[in-house]
């Protein structure tokens, strides 16, 4: 069970209150019509599937219902930080998770 800090409620809450929403910081192409099918498919479906530190979106679905970002290690599950939408993450921790 993860304990996740919601930057809006400003509290650590149980994972049960949250839903996972995939990789963060993927921006929608400004002119989708100009994209090739391959590029559009890449935007829609393909993710990095990182092993290690990962920026990802979570929604506080049973709480304030806001989306926010979390930096989490996909092997150890350690959470480095959570930060609101529209803000930039801190520099990644050096090396592997503790």
């Amino acid at each position: 069970m993860l304990k996740i800090h919601c930057p809006y409620c400003d509290e650590q809450r149980e994972e049960e209150e949250f839903s996972y929403s995939g990789e963060a910081h993927i921006s929608r192409p400004l002119d989708p019509g100009a994209l090739s099918d391959a590029d559009w498919a890449d935007y829609l479906f393909f993710r990095k599937n990182t092993r290690g530190w990962h920026h990802e979106m979570w929604q506080h679905s049973a709480g304030c219902r806001r989306y926010f970002n979390v930096t989490r290690h996909t092997v150890t599950y350690e959470i480095f930080e959570s930060y609101p939408m529209g803000t930039t993450p801190k520099a990644l921790p050096k090396g592997d998770a503790r």
């Binding site: 509290e11 809450r13 709480g63 806001r66």
Partner: protein, 188 residues
């Protein structure tokens, strides 16, 4: 024309709640009040001032807190979202008149109901039904929290007299009512 009978979502459980009450726990469903969802920008001072003037108290901006009194209250739901409960049905129109610009007032009265939990056992009932930490050192008078109660969504409120209110969805009311009857049995 005959009068329309107003029934709260848990009117059929009132007797069961009554039978159970006494001893460590007192459960009852609150009388019907208006529930309004209010959206607006907390950093917009004209919005905040107009809301305060209409309600008679300021909207809470501290997460997980509420303001107001027994007749009317505003609960923090998010950085730009509040729940207002009031027994004055004129508040909805008054807000629409007073607020300007980018805002939304939505009447959700038909979708929610309020259950009051009183007595020494109410804390234990909350603790065994929810994943949130309701210990009095953390969850104090003036706090409210949106979390899960028996896996259903609930807004839990700690009132000035130490009792708790559960503000829940109408569609989950029967389920939560039955859960409470079962959870409270050992204390009655």
């Amino acid at each position: 024309m005959s009068n329309i009978l107003v029934e709260t979502p848990l009117h059929h459980m009132a007797d069961a709640f009554m039978t159970l009450s006494g001893g460590g726990i007192n459960i009852h469903e609150a009388d019907m009040v208006s529930h309004l969802n209010l959206r607006g920008c907390a950093s917009d001072s004209s919005f905040m001032k107009a809301a305060q003037k209409t309600l008679g108290f300021a909207l809470p901006v501290v997460p997980n807190s509420f303001s107001g009194h027994d007749e009317s209250a505003a609960y923090w739901l998010g950085p730009d979202e509040w729940l207002i409960t009031t027994n004055d049905i004129a508040v909805e129109d008054a807000l629409r008149v007073a607020l300007k610009g980018h805002f939304a007032v939505t009447n959700i009265t038909g979708g929610q109901t309020i259950i009051s939990l009183r007595g020494g056992a109410s804390l234990e009932i909350l603790q065994k039904s929810s994943i949130y930490d309701f210990h009095p050192s953390k969850f104090k008078v003036g706090n409210c929290v949106q979390t899960t109660f028996a896996k259903a969504g609930a807004l839990v409120v700690k009132k000035a007299d130490g009792s708790f209110n559960l503000i829940i969805r109408r569609s989950f009311a029967d389920y939560i009512g039955r859960w409470l009857l079962d959870a409270a049995r050992e204390y009655s």
